[in-house]
């Protein structure tokens, strides 16, 4: 750790991992409810558990992104954060608001939560992923603006690197597009149209810039490859992200009442969205192969390579599976979407946050560069258990989805939704088992922070760098 103010990242990382555990527990609950429909009913109904599962994911990823930025920006800008106190303050505000919101979901009926929080003054609630009470949404905007001011001013004050600028661009986009969460027109088509400006333009737009810049940072640090080379790749990757991703929004406009040309625009441009992810994979492996030195933090390198591969598979390949409008006509809103959602979020965003935590946490906790070998081995066990189980979750959901599409929409005598749900039970059961293995991986990952802390750091002595 070169700058004292980088330390604020630690709080954000700890909160991120804590909320991650919560997300997975609620994932297991809804997974069980797919098998036993009345599991935990009426205490935790499916719709509430699902809301908690998805909202926690988004919130902990935001904690992760902000933590990553607070660590990365000072190091890149070669200057301390201008307002570390603000970063600390915002952490507590965000955590409190987030926790209160989740408790609100769990403790009172949703309609009552809307009443309690005076939703009628500025109605924004009741839409998937944007369920937060308006007051929470305003809180998110305040946190985001303070965060942007903090890293923006730090970047302005210090060295302006491509990584910092791309990250700032991504974070600014994240804040700007969130503002569409406040636009809630009566016309359902317009509502959905702009709803995607938050949802799609986040995960298939500006978040990819954040992903690209964090990945580039980790690769510079762990491989010693020239910054120039890495920056050039980053430029091309973000250009492709924006070219394909922005118009690619059209793949959500097939069936919501928007003009028919979106079927073409959406299909063609979103079909190209795997390209930047593929470039990221080539980029990451190329840089590691060209490395000037070995880095003692093997786990961080593993996460970085892992995210490049899994993002391509989950976001790229599994996204492509159902992105063309003639295919999506059948697959829309089935378990195929759920399969894609799980691997894409894990591969692209969970893994990049964990990669950053893996890289930064040893330094934040007083190590020179890396954890002890013992701790790293356990962390890598966590990596493989979580990654392999997400692959299986994705495969099981894909199987469920294919069967669902066939029985419910494609067969000569299509069956009703609930009948089909009965028929694909086996896949849900298998998915739940994979979910428990995921949880075990996550727990092992957490344990890795607490073992081997008295042992010496891993070293690269005796290792040869391939030329």
């Amino acid at each position: 750790m070169k700058y004292k103010s980088q330390k604020v990242a630690k709080l954000y990382f700890i909160a991120a991992i804590g909320l991650f555990v919560g997300q997975i527990l609620f994932g297991l609950i809804i997974g069980a409810q797919y098998i036993w429909g009345d599991f935990l009913f009426p205490e935790i109904p499916f719709n509430v558990a699902r809301m908690v599962h998805t909202n926690l994911l988004i919130v902990w990823l935001l904690f992760g992104f902000m933590g990553a930025a607070y660590y990365l920006v000072p190091e890149e800008a070669e200057t301390d954060l201008v307002m570390p106190w603000l970063a600390n303050l915002m952490f507590w505000i965000f955590l409190t608001a987030g926790a209160a919101t989740i408790l609100g979901y769990l403790l009172v009926p949703y309609a009552q939560l809307a009443e309690l929080t005076k939703n009628e003054l500025l109605p924004t609630m009741g839409r998937e992923f944007l369920e937060q009470p308006t007051i929470t949404k305003i809180g998110i905007v305040i946190v985001a603006l303070s965060f942007l001011a903090n890293i923006g001013l730090t970047i302005l004050k210090g060295r302006k690197t491509v990584i910092n600028l791309v990250l700032l661009m991504g974070m600014t986009g994240l804040a700007v597009f969130f503002l569409f969460a406040f636009y809630n027109p009566v016309n359902v088509v317009l509502d959905k149209y702009y709803w995607w400006w938050v949802v799609h333009l986040w995960v298939e737009g500006v978040w990819e810039l954040i992903l690209g810049s964090i990945l580039a940072f980790i690769l510079i640090k762990t491989t010693g490859v020239d910054r120039e080379v890495i920056e050039k790749w980053l430029y091309v990757i973000i250009a492709m992200v924006l070219i394909t991703g922005i118009i690619g929004t059209g793949h959500h406009y097939y069936w919501i009442g928007t003009p028919a040309f979106w079927q073409w625009w959406g299909s063609i441009f979103s079909a190209m969205e795997p390209i930047p992810f593929f470039m990221m994979t080539v980029f990451a492996f190329n840089m590691v192969n060209k490395r000037r030195r070995n880095h003692p933090n093997k786990a961080a390198v593993l996460w970085a390579l892992g995210t490049a591969v899994m993002a391509f598979l989950g976001a790229g390949v599994w996204g492509f599976l159902h992105t063309l409008s003639p295919v999506n006509y059948y697959t829309h809103g089935t378990q195929i979407t759920a399969a894609h959602g799980h691997m894409a979020f894990y591969g692209a965003y969970v893994m990049i946050v964990l990669a950053m935590i893996s890289y930064a946490m040893p330094m934040l906790r007083g190590r020179e560069a890396a954890n002890s070998t013992k701790s790293q081995v356990l962390e890598m066990w966590g990596f493989w258990l979580m990654t392999i189980s997400i692959v299986f979750i994705t495969l099981f959901l894909t199987g469920a989805g294919i069967l669902q599409v066939y029985l419910q929409r494609f067969a000569d005598n299509p069956m009703p939704f609930m009948v089909v749900q009965e028929k694909i039970q086996l896949f849900y059961a298998l998915r739940e088992i994979a979910g428990f293995i995921f949880l075990s991986g996550l727990l092992i990952y957490i344990v890795s922070f607490f073992v081997g802390s008295k042992e010496p750091e891993a070293t690269i002595e005796g290792e040869v760098v391939p030329t």
């Binding site: 091309v236 040309f261 073409w264 299909s267």
Partner: protein, 190 residues
Amino acid sequence: MTGMEKNRWPPGDLVIWIFIMAELLVFGVFFTAYAFTRAHNVELFDTYQLTLDRNAALINTLALITSSYFVVRAVADIRADDSRGCFRWLLAALGMGLLFLVVKGLEYKHHFSLGIDLSTNTFYMFYLSLTFFHFLHVVLGMVILLAVALKARKGGYSAAEHTGVETGASYWHMVDLVWMILFPLVYVMR
């Protein structure tokens, strides 16, 4: 054309070629979609193709080919260490690009004045989408050429190091190439 012998492969920065390939892939998919859709709607496509201004498109074809030639001369000049010549040829290429934009703009003006938009019919959907995406590429190509030209004027390139000029030239040729397919496909072939 001295200096053309010592070709490096690929000319310009490798990364621009990855970008070019990705761009060509997008256009390739779009052209394929056009071809298949036309095959199912030959009559519609033939009818509305006649409403396009082929002369304007021909002028634009010549403008782009000429601009590509100018860009080639610019690369040749910088390989002979002539920064001023390089700058002038790039300026000439930019002029041709501007001509393209003006002619295309007039075509759009005509169509829009008739109230034609993306929802009028499938042919116009393709015509407007394809030409507009290409239009944006001409704009981007011109921005790149302008950046290269300005650097060349300041003497930023030399016979020994002119990767930037080749990079810009490669991208511009791609813009030209796409039009060379778009023009016959959308305006001429029946």
